[in-house]
Symmetry: C2
Subunit: 554 residues, 2 copies
Amino acid sequence: MFRDDLPTVSLEELQDHDGTGPDASVWVAYGRGVYDVTEFARGAHPGGDKILLAAGGDIAPFWDLYAVHKTGWVYEVLEELRVANLDSLGAERLAEAARARAAAAAAGGGVFANEPARSPALEVRSQRPFNAETPPGALCASFRTPSDEFYVRNHLAVPDVDPATHVLTVEGSGIASPVTFTLDDLASKFEQVDVEVTLQCGGNRRREMSRVRNVHGLDWDRAAIGNAVWRGPRLRDVLRAAGLPLDEDAVVSVQPAAAGASAEAAPAGLPAGPGRADAEASPTKRLRDLHVQMEGADTDEGGSPYGASVPAWRAVSAEQDVVLALQMNGEPMPRDHGFPLRAVVPGVVGSRSVKWLTRIRVADEESTSFWQRKDYKALGPATDWASPDLERARSIQEMPVQAAVLRPLPRGGAEAAVVDGTRPVAVEGYAWSGGGRGIARVDVSADGGATWQEAELRDESGQRDGRHWAWVLWHASVPVPAGADTTELVARAVDSSLNVQPERVGPQWSARGLLNNAWTRVPLTIRRPAACAAGRDAGAPSARAPADGSMRRA
Amino acid sequence: MFRDDLPTVSLEELQDHDGTGPDASVWVAYGRGVYDVTEFARGAHPGGDKILLAAGGDIAPFWDLYAVHKTGWVYEVLEELRVANLDSLGAERLAEAARARAAAAAAGGGVFANEPARSPALEVRSQRPFNAETPPGALCASFRTPSDEFYVRNHLAVPDVDPATHVLTVEGSGIASPVTFTLDDLASKFEQVDVEVTLQCGGNRRREMSRVRNVHGLDWDRAAIGNAVWRGPRLRDVLRAAGLPLDEDAVVSVQPAAAGASAEAAPAGLPAGPGRADAEASPTKRLRDLHVQMEGADTDEGGSPYGASVPAWRAVSAEQDVVLALQMNGEPMPRDHGFPLRAVVPGVVGSRSVKWLTRIRVADEESTSFWQRKDYKALGPATDWASPDLERARSIQEMPVQAAVLRPLPRGGAEAAVVDGTRPVAVEGYAWSGGGRGIARVDVSADGGATWQEAELRDESGQRDGRHWAWVLWHASVPVPAGADTTELVARAVDSSLNVQPERVGPQWSARGLLNNAWTRVPLTIRRPAACAAGRDAGAPSARAPADGSMRRA
């Protein structure tokens, strides 16, 4: 409903009030109404934090998800907060987005008929399979990423797993015969540990790499990463219960892949495959030279499951903290994140933390899945998709040091973020490294790297170096160059092994667009109040003037 | 003795024949004589490998060290190999260098009166204390660096330790009272393990950084690194024998530093300091939050020993392989490397591998030594020597991924290495990373980084990722750009966590000149036979022409 007593604003003006501007004001839209919910959101109102997800945008999809809000009194409360009308073009654009969401939901069908409900705050990169990242502002809002805002990386449709009947089968080299565990077994027969782990997609920040040269993969920006607490038994304890020795130097009989597969298929009473019939002749290897393969309940059109593997030494190590998670952030695992059971392999590319986990197999080769053998590979610049080196290339396991700026960022398709030139820029972001390495330092520069200052690090994990699986969040207040109209904001992290991020994306380019960990850069447009520059109206308040009215330069 | 029947060559011509040229010929000088020892050196002659140390230079200092050579028949043999006279300027320059060596040896006195004999092959960076690196050609000649060519990093004079009376004292938090071990205890009461570990000075490759902007420290080129097998008991086994629990989560009483120091000094029968008198009140900490301090027998003018520390979790970990070495490469430790006992901390900056080890103390703070608190620090670009941040900065422990070209290199003070443009350049080097990370890939480019190819890696360690403490050597055969007269050879390594070397030295600059791990670059001058280019004498053999006489371009 249009209200003549209020001003009319554009969608861009609405988007400017997303809580990250100088006055931190939060506006949301509902139909033609524009509402200032700054105080409301930060008060004690239940779901006040959720309304922030709609900051600078349409509140309707969030209200669809959190149905409690759709009552008459809520509309009354909201109308009291109204500050403007949204112009007709803006309203039409929001309606168009709503129609697209509805069409996408209706189009679900076939194998994608049973996808879970999802937060509309997620920035969708593909609908089927569903892949989405967290809005940057939400990512730096809390040290532990809320489960419903955590980035989603699905390779296939989300399986519908019945927790009452779900079992995990553990088998393979070093294990006499397959052992199955119910969820109840996993929850009651093993010590339950909480491990705080940041997961990151191997393609995080691919968008920047694709600007250098075309790459293959989802158009991930910088938020295909998140930090959560995962709870369940240790993988090593479950492997021990299945009979595997936990000493990486132990010599075990290698079970041929065929024997492993046929062991279950063989009818009771018959020999369980060649590996069993002639156990004396089976070759042996040290456990450290083997791999732990994992399969999920998600399957492709041919019925083959998603699969991945990690080296066996990592799976059995007391210091690598691999967990079979039943819970995420203190609640049952959400379906998008692997309900009811997923592996969480700390310090390693997210794709090895297999969701909807059904099977673990100790084997003398990596998982034979497409994703292990041809997808998440560390490719050099000389290797492309036609190269025979693709399968020989090293599988990505531990990830390199990474950091990204989450604020300020360009809004609404702009090339540059607009900042107030009369005060230092407040910069926020995350930093993380693989392999349990903590973050030693984050350097921030508002002059393209000519001068640097160190950011303040925020680490709520309590983890030590070497087992530091969680990220750090960081912030800095950095002066912009005097007199400049534009500049480049740069940040780079150094991890506890003193590895640094590379300066440019280009030399890291690879055909799959993986492993972009170059310095994070944000072009800035520096605004200084025109009144100030011209010497007129120096006393007049401005939306972008500092609260104390100070002006640094004429 | 000058021989009229032979040609006369300059020192530069002599230096050209150092075994790395296209025909791999090795010349050495002795007095005015120049000898081609190519075949001799590569034959079965005892010490034939040692003569290569003099390749392209004066053989006299090597013969001084290996006195067996100074017999009449050796001179006779040598004279048969004579190919030229050294010109008088060259002979005078070699004599001048010999006088300088003699003066340096004679100047030894005071605390430096008892330094060990050293290989003249070492490239000396400082005489007192003695610091020297391996010649690059020797470094890539063997996967295990010979002990007498291993880089030497001494912070003080080399102590003269009597192995018969030397003891190691282990004390501090979690240890009821100091325990001492003789060398015989360490060699006989514990399992002896061989651990192959590459050690690297934190200042390796400082020379390149000092070209960006002045830094403080020894002028290390690229060879302050070496790889050896170290044998002795595990540190964790010795700590366990002293009573320390090996669980990093164990809660131990923290012994105040003062109590630790006075425990030994107290006369028998008297209370051994406040920590003992009131043990109930002593604070507790988890072992993982403590440090293992180490002291050497080398002392400064005030009698304070060299000291360093590592986090306690690393010292007690079964996977970090910290060893108390009694042997290096299968022989007793050389004096320059810590005779009779040194710590070897794999994957960590060399300065924490304390030599001439006398004392280990578990404490709730890092070593208070100058070298721990003010020297080997990971400084950001904003920190200089006057900065109060110096002591607060993080101590270097694990080192980042590193690589350097060892061949070809510029010779005799030239800016560029000269290569034969008619064939691919044979490139050799090393690559290593800290923290047990192996090397995933080495990319090599002979066009400044525009195009890359992968090097062949040589790994004789048999170590797995995560406990990969040894380096790899690598080689590649890389075509130079057609038609160019100069180019830049570039190499960069990627470690198993997929961390990369940074592109440029400049952004890594720090006041102490530590941690330079930028891409390794060698300017090349490309020579193509003039005869070939001009179309004359195409059939005439040339010193730089390929053996098969082929010419790639006119």
